[in-house]
C-alpha cells in the first residue's frame, strides 16, 4: 500500500491501516531503539507510542506529510526515546524521595472519570473517543460504527456525552460526602 493510500485510510480512522503500518515498519523502528541502548520491550513501547502520535495527528488532520511515513515515524521514535533516556538519567541522579501524591485531588478526579468512562457502553465509549481523541468527522464516525446517518451519530454523541457528564458529576459529589 502506498503511503498516500495509508494516510487517506487513517484520516478516516481505518485501524487496519494502522496495523498494516505497525507490521511494515516494526523491524526498522525497533532496531533504531535497540541500537540506542533500548531493550526489546522499550523499543516496542516507544514504537507503539510513536505510531499512535502519528495516528492522532493524521486523524485530526494536523499533519501534512511531505516525506515518507517511515521518515516521520523514525524521527518521532527517536524523539520519544531521547525524552525517555533523559527521564531515566534524571531519576538516577535524584534521590528516591519524590512525593508520591503529587496532586491528590487531580488524581482522584482522574480515577473517577476513568471509572465513569468504563461504565459507558462500548458504543458510547467509541463515539466519544473517536470524537475527542481522533477528532474524526461525524460522517466518519457514523461510517465506522455503522450508523444510518450522520445525524444519528451527532445525536448519539450528544446523549453519550451528557450521560458521561452526569455520571462524573454525580460520582464526584457522592464521593464528597464520604470525606
Amino acid at each position: 500500500m502506498k503511503d498516500s493510500v495509508v494516510i487517506e485510510k487513517i484520516s478516516r480512522g481505518d485501524e487496519k491501516a494502522l496495523e498494516y503500518l505497525y507490521r511494515k515498519h516494526y523491524r526498522m523502528m525497533t532496531n533504531a531503539i535497540l541500537k540506542n541502548n533500548g531493550t526489546e520491550q522499550e523499543a516496542k513501547d516507544v514504537y507503539q507510542d510513536a505510531l499512535i502520535v502519528f495516528w492522532q495527528k493524521v486523524t485530526s488532520h494536523q499533519l501534512t506529510l511531505t516525506a515518507k511515513i517511515s521518515t516521520y515515524l523514525y524521527s518521532v521514535c527517536l524523539n520519544l526515546w531521547r525524552k525517555e533516556l533523559d527521564r531515566k538519567s534524571r531519576l538516577s541522579y535524584e534521590e528516591h524521595d519524590q512525593p508520591e501524591y503529587l496532586n491528590d485531588e487531580a488524581e482522584e478526579r482522574k480515577a473517577i472519570i476513568h471509572a465513569c468512562i468504563n461504565q459507558l457502553g462500548d458504543t458510547c465509549r467509541k463515539i466519544l473517543t473517536y470524537y475527542y481523541f481522533d477528532d474524526l468527522s461525524m460522517q466518519d464516525i457514523a461510517k465506522k460504527l455503522g450508523f444510518a446517518t450522520t445525524e444519528t451519530a451527532k445525536t448519539k454523541k450528544y446523549k453519550c456525552k451528557k450521560r458521561l457528564d452526569n455520571l462524573v458529576k454525580s460520582t464526584y459529589s457522592a464521593s464528597d460526602f464520604l470525606d
Binding site: 500500500m1 473517543t129 446523549k159 457528564d165
Partner: protein
C-alpha cells in the same frame, strides 16, 4: 449549558479556537467561576478519553503477532511463484490496479511486493482463476475484500481498472430509536442484558494480584489480562467472573457479597459497585453454577 457553549469548549480543548475566540472564552472564564470550573472538568474528561483511546490502540497493536520480515530471497521466490502460476492477464491486472506502469513479466518478478500483499494477492487470484470466466465477470458480485490492501474485485480479466474500494453497506443497528424524544439509556449500559442469558461461563486465564500496601484503598488496574487489586483482599475471598458475548468478553469481580465491573485500565481506578439489580442477579446465578 447551551449547545453552542459546549461546542466552543470542545473546540477550545482541541486547540481549534482562533486567538480571538480563545481570548474571549478565557475572559469569560475569569468572570464566571462556574464556567471556569466546568471547563476544568471538561478538560479532565477530554484527557481521560484520550488516555482510554491511546490505551485501546496500544493494546490492539500489542496483541498483534509481528513476524520478522522474510528474507529478500524468500520474497522474490514467493512473488515468482505467484506470478508463475497466474495467467499474464492476471499479473497485468494487478500492476495496473496499483500505480505502477504496466511491466513485462520479467519486471513483475523484480518489483518488490510487501509480505502481506503477496499472500492476499495469491489467495484472491487463485480464487479468481477458479471461479471467473470473461462472460461471468460482469455478473459476479463484488465480494468483501479479505484485506483492505487489495482494493478491487478479483475479476482477473478486466485490465487497467482503477483501484476501487469494495462497497460494504454499513451494519445498521436497529437497537436505537432515532426519533425517540425520551432519552434511551439502553445502549449505554454494558453488557446487554439479553446477552447474559446466552453467554457461557468460560475459564479465563487472567492472572490476579492483590496488593494490600498501596496508596489506593479499593481500586484496580487491568491490562494484558493481568488484574491488580489494590486494597484489603486478604481476609475475604474474591472471584473473577467472565461473561463472553459475540463481540467481546466482560469481566466482573465478586467480592464480599457485591459485584464490580472490571474494564481495561492501565491507571488505577476505583472499584465501582454494580447497583443494577438484574445484572447482580445474573452474576449471582453465574457464580453459583461455577
Amino acid at each position: 449549558m447551551n449547545q453552542d457553549l459546549t461546542y466552543t469548549i470542545d473546540r477550545y480543548l482541541k486547540g481549534k479556537l482562533s486567538e480571538e475566540e480563545q481570548r474571549a472564552l478565557e475572559e469569560k472564564m475569569q468572570q464566571d467561576p462556574l464556567l471556569a470550573h466546568e471547563v476544568t472538568w471538561q478538560k479532565d474528561i477530554y484527557h481521560a478519553l484520550g488516555d482510554v483511546r491511546r490505551a485501546a490502540l496500544k493494546s490492539r497493536l500489542d496483541n498483534m503477532v509481528v513476524h520478522p520480515s522474510p528474507h529478500f530471497l524468500g520474497q522474490r521466490w514467493l512473488t515468482a511463484a505467484v506470478v508463475g502460476t497466474l495467467l499474464v492477464a492476471g499479473s497485468a491486472y494487478y500492476y495496473a490496479a496499483s500505480d505502477e506502469p504496466e511491466p513485462t513479466a520479467h519486471q513483475a518478478i523484480e518489483a518488490p511486493v510487501t509480505y502481506p500483499e503477496a499472500y492476499t494477492l495469491h489467495r484472491i487470484q487463485r480464487d479468481a482463476l477458479a471461479t471467473v470466466s470473461p462472460e461471468d465477470a460482469s455478473s459476479k458480485e463484488a465480494p468483501v475484500p479479505i484485506d483492505e490492501a487489495v482494493n478491487a474485485a478479483p475479476t482477473a480479466f478486466i485490465k487497467a481498472r482503477p483501484a476501487q474500494p469494495a462497497v460494504v453497506p454499513p451494519q445498521v443497528t436497529s437497537q436505537f430509536a432515532e426519533d425517540a424524544p425520551v432519552v434511551d439509556y439502553s445502549d449505554f449500559e454494558a453488557p446487554e442484558k439479553s446477552a447474559l442469558q446466552e453467554n457461557a461461563y468460560r475459564e479465563e486465564n487472567v492472572t490476579v494480584e492483590a496488593l494490600s500496601d498501596s496508596r489506593y484503598t479499593f481500586h484496580y488496574q487491568f491490562f494484558d489480562n493481568k488484574l491488580y487489586l489494590h486494597g484489603n483482599f486478604d481476609q475475604t475471598p474474591y472471584k473473577i467472573i467472565a461473561l463472553n458475548s459475540e463481540e467481546d468478553k466482560k469481566l466482573f469481580l465478586e467480592f464480599d457479597g457485591a459485584y464490580y465491573r472490571i474494564g481495561e485500565h492501565e491507571v488505577a481506578v476505583p472499584l465501582v459497585k454494580i447497583e443494577d439489580a438484574a445484572l447482580v442477579k445474573s452474576l449471582k446465578n453465574m457464580s453459583a453454577i461455577n
